[in-house]
Symmetry: D2
Subunit: 295 residues, 4 copies
């Protein structure tokens, strides 16, 4: 038998008939927390990858695309960035991006799975890049829903970096009207709620549209934006929700100033990228305009 | 042994360590022409797929994204659309999109592989949707390079819908300076040369940039644009080249009028999609600005 | 994207966690009959393969192992070989092996799926090797169970070459007490019923033992024998059942004479191979001796 | 995306066109020693598996088949079992089987890869089942070839449990005439050299026959024997070599007495299994009788 370079493959199944196979270079961690199955592997094309319950969460090579997209459109448009809340975000990369703005005074992150946070610190330090040690960071291991219920603060931006609300996932109880009402009460005036929101690919945008329809019951402006995230194998979508701010229309100058005020270097986001993110193709605008199911 | 729903899988290998597996519903055709290996299959998620030499060429579910993107930005910007040339394009979908404009009087398509054209007519009629029977269509089975050498016509747009210029592919001899010089001599004043140009994903945009750099030696305006094509598993890029027309800057009104003049219904392209296609993310603008290898 | 030699793979799933992947060279046929999904492919290692409902039925490279094992131990031991019945056996290879003995005067084969027989004649002629044209062959397309009910002949050997009796398979109604009683009434004195009977591998012999236990209710001698069939990816087992003949004990001289009387050349079976087939390893003898479930 | 039960698969490639995929339950270890890539995983069907350089070495579910076959035919036939040598055998299961005979006074095991031995002790204790702690066991981490050169002892049996002699494997320098001459000088009178010797499947027995032919230059009796090892996905062959003892012909009574003298319970080997192991099918006897390449 000829030697094989790679004995192991990570297989992500998108549908019973669609799989992506990544050859595993090294297994850095493989186990199970109280909440989910966790694996951290190295691959040649995507570098390190974090996998929860068999789904890619982020990869070393393109996590900047995902995390800059989740954070900066919302923060650039927010009226006040001094106090920011992250739901989920265990890798620490959403936290990292938020803290790049010096006008953020406090960023609270609530993730249910302390093991993911610990493993991210140990095996994926590039993701947080020191953010966990920033005095402005407050990391709470706990239930985001309980936190929202008990909390009394007002946030300029709430960023939801949870896994997809699939029936068995720990994030499932966090996607419904009651939660959105809670989120809304925690937003400061001019505040923005941004969340990752499934795919927006032409053959597979129904869940995204359902999420958007649901949120339109709660917020005046619910804007879809999306980008291809290579490690996700598809276009990934987000929603920016607010009663006062239309994130899709943030002026290029404001974005330019915002980006100039970021510490470090961005890989993906600036005013032109913003234009790309929010310019939706014909099929998606049509689908978003249709009536349909809500959560 | 439990019954399996699908006995066969189409495996597209992007790298020795990256594969996408599609379960095969039916094999409509599987064989080899004088030029390449050809397969036409049905899949649940992407519908029918055309596969040449193991690479997905187009899928029923998203071929509109690809073909509208290849054709319409160039045609919307072209000074004169009366005479159009397609290099490759065997499925007939590029031809279909071109002929949707009534002001196209003649569209010549030159594809080397007559078997692909015949199989597309038989198994993929939705792709050409009658275009092969349009009296304005002229289909030549032959070598695109020889055609360019012998031809004396002037085209308002030349659309290159060839497979990737990989070393063993039949399209490889069509990607070099000599060919681009030839192409240029065939463009009418205000003419545009548009071609598909590999991927533009953050981890894999080097070949696209090399293609762009090469073409900048020949044309004043060389504009990158790209979109995610789900069946390709990645962002797919194109280049629009001209000495007189900057396709990235076509005014929205012109695009609106152009689209209004198209027969039938578009799935993807209009002025807002155009804005998306040509608004390049930060990393790609940086990479395109760098010096580097050319063909 | 680098060219891949093979775009398609046949994936046989043995369990939700175990699969064998064979690269497809050519797809000779792929479709569905009234009874099952049928595929005929070419592979480099196994040559042509017949696949029914996702399960390998036989391969060009090793079908002799399977078919010689099904036929010759039974025929060598049978008191009278003049009249033989095959249940299933669509490929025609069981028929071929039976007809290699000149003392077979008539061999009736009853297969429910005429399309499998037609495809085998067209694409797998090496399997039947002319047997379908032998005047001693009688091929009936129909239900084996109905045939057994209506038939009044007496057979020196009945060979069951059906697919595994899985819940949804067309062979499922053919594995129960009523059928075995019917089979028994069709056996001539000294007659033998031989059938393929799942795997006998150390980790997966339970179904075989259940089949053996069930048949022991009907026959005095129920002998297990097995061999590795590479294309099946495992050891494959058979049962030889009779009230009068212990097939495991056929003397080597009798086998030698029997084999000498076969037309053509055998690849696998002779007296020493017989000894191998019926010498069961310790674990299997232990398992067969245990009480347990029956059909 | 639907949750997948298994995110990782172990893919063993037997040929560029043949692969077996095992879903990974847990990764117990994954790393690299100075000599080879090592992985220890759990699977549902085979239990724990040891994988070296991408090749299955043994599995919890069927390692008894392999190790009993390597050890007992040789030891049952050997004139004197007091002193036994194992080349390789890192898991400790060959050692375990040898030490089951009380008349073994010393068993020396020489394995080059101390990490494999350490990992086996930690993660695969069922394999050695205490054998490493037996006072009769002597484990040397070192080069088997150097050991053979320097050693002056005489062994009643030398058992070679090395990985396949593929060009890049650490066992490659151990398969040639010089080594066999050395081995021979270390055998006591009536001594036997037994080694694992590739596959004996009908489509893939050439390497085994080449190994047998090579050894026939050195020993009077070179006997092939083989069994299906499910985790290896194929029939696995061995060779028993001696100038004085024909292992194929060990009388059943001697085997019975030998087995009765083994501590603990066997899963696979006894006199009937011995008959099976050494009764070779027609194709293999034909191939072994042919002239051909040697090492």
């Amino acid at each position: 038998m000829p030697k094989t370079e790679h004995w192991g493959w990570y297989v992500e199944r998108f549908a019973p008939t669609e799989e992506h196979h990544h050859a595993i270079g090294r297994v850095l961690y493989s186990g199970r927390s109280d909440f989910q199955q966790i694996a951290i592997i190295e691959t040649e094309v995507f570098g390190k990858m974090l996998i929860l319950d068999g789904d890619t969460q982020s990869s070393e090579r393109d996590e900047h695309v995902y995390h800059e997209t989740l954070v900066h459109p919302a923060l650039a448009a927010a009226a006040d960035r001094s106090n920011v809340l992250i739901l989920g975000g265990g890798e620490g990369a959403t936290l990292r991006e938020v803290l790049r703005r010096p006008d953020v005074r406090l960023c609270t992150m609530v993730d249910i799975d302390g093991l993911v946070v610990d493993l991210a610190k140990r095996y994926l330090p590039e993701w947080s890049d020191g953010a966990f040690d920033d005095p402005r960071a407050r990391v709470i291991i706990g239930d985001a829903l309980a936190y929202l219920r008990d909390d009394r603060e007002a946030y300029g931006a709430i960023l939801s970096d949870l896994t997809e609300p699939l029936p068995d996932s720990p994030s499932h109880p966090l996607f419904n009207d009651a939660v959105f009402s809670l989120v809304k009460t925690r937003l400061a005036p001019g505040g923005i709620y941004a969340l990752q929101a499934s795919t927006a690919a032409i053959h597979n945008a129904a869940l995204h549209c359902k999420m958007a329809r649901t949120l339109r019951k709660h917020f005046r402006y619910v804007r879809s934006f999306f980008t291809h995230v290579p490690a996700f194998d598809t276009d990934w979508a987000f929603l920016a929700c607010s009663d006062t701010v239309d994130v899709a229309s943030t002026p290029a100058e404001r974005i330019g100033e915002y980006c100039a005020g970021l510490r470090g270097t961005s890989a993906f986001y600036d005013a032109e990228t913003h234009r790309r993110l929010f310019a939706l193709p014909l099929y998606l605008r049509r689908m978003l305009a249709e009536e349909g199911e809500v959560f």
